[in-house]
Symmetry: C2
Subunit: 195 residues, 2 copies
């Protein structure tokens, strides 16, 4: 399921234990939800001693943060968004990716909680911002890449969250939604002038 991160030589026990923790966490999350899962729950499921958990992660929040980061990065890599340049088509794919990711995160972790959602948010926004900034810097335009990437990544996330919380029967598909908001985002990516 979750592949190991570090390709360099690592003590096999460390890799094994870390993998046990991550796998146990991903199994238990849909059952219990993030808020009510405890470190004790996770370590029981993983079959390791609770004190060992703290050698790998400072707390369950760090574990969630790491898991989200890894999963979202996989979604980006799967679509090769990290290896392409800025275009409206790629921006649309990015927005759809975020839609799908947020929807999946919320439906596989019931009941959701504020802390869960804010960690998902922080992680996804961070990666969005990094990616958009790289895209813009490759583009050789005179836009302030950092400012543009910040405004756009935050706006994307805000809009996606609103879309994902939409209980309306007429809620558009992720594709249609992305088409609708694309102009709004694209203009941010063009308008930020260097100070």
């Amino acid at each position: 399921m979750l592949s190991t991160l570090q390709d360099e030589k690592q003590d096999p026990r460390v890799k094994r234990t870390r993998s046990l923790i991550l796998n146990a966490f991903m199994e238990i999350l849909p059952e219990k939800g993030f808020q009510s899962v405890s470190v004790q729950d996770i370590t029981e499921k993983a079959g390791i001693n609770r004190a060992t958990f703290y050698a790998h992660f400072p707390d369950k929040y760090a574990l969630l943060d790491h898991s989200i980061s890894q999963m979202f990065r996989q979604e980006i890599e799967k679509r090769m968004l990290d290896a392409c340049h800025y275009s409206d088509e790629n921006l649309k794919t990015l927005i759809v990716t975020v839609c799908e990711f947020v929807s999946n995160a919320n439906s596989h972790c019931k009941p959701s909680s504020l802390q869960f959602e804010s960690l998902v948010e922080a992680q996804v926004k961070n990666q969005l911002q990094g990616l958009l900034q790289v895209w813009l810097e490759q583009d050789d335009s005179d836009v302030d890449a950092k400012t543009a990437a910040t405004a756009a990544s935050w706006a994307i996330y805000g809009l996606v969250l609103q879309w994902s919380h939409d209980k309306n029967k007429k809620k558009p598909s992720a594709e249609k939604f992305a088409d609708q908001v694309l102009p709004l985002i694209a203009v941010n990516l063009r308008l930020a002038q260097p100070a």
Copy 2:
């Protein structure tokens, strides 16, 4: 310091205890920082029993959320931003307000923590979004107020946060910063078309 919220008839003990909690919290926060302050600390400072705290707030996070909400609302009301209409001038004032609020929050609560910052963020964004939506709905244009307010409030917060974390010697003042990002935000508030 903190005024009571409920103007309707409320048991004086409830008001008194609540006020003790809020005041104690605001006193202890700059000393200890949010992360290391405990409910026990707060109730000791307030001179009430710990179990009583839970009759008023489910946890310290809810207490922080409530405090931020109230303080930010006061900042909005102080500048009468809740009683005016949308204009570039008022939008600029709003951005400056957020800058000042975020700067003050971060400097009066050292060491800051992720959870503190994400609660400040959630609360400020929420109020920003509400206010911008009201402004746009009053404006009688054909823009999708909700979408525009979402994109803009998130972009404002993202940009302000980046500004507030800027360690650069040449960091612009809040006023100058607001001038710089105003075009970026303003265009969001004009571009969201009804679906």
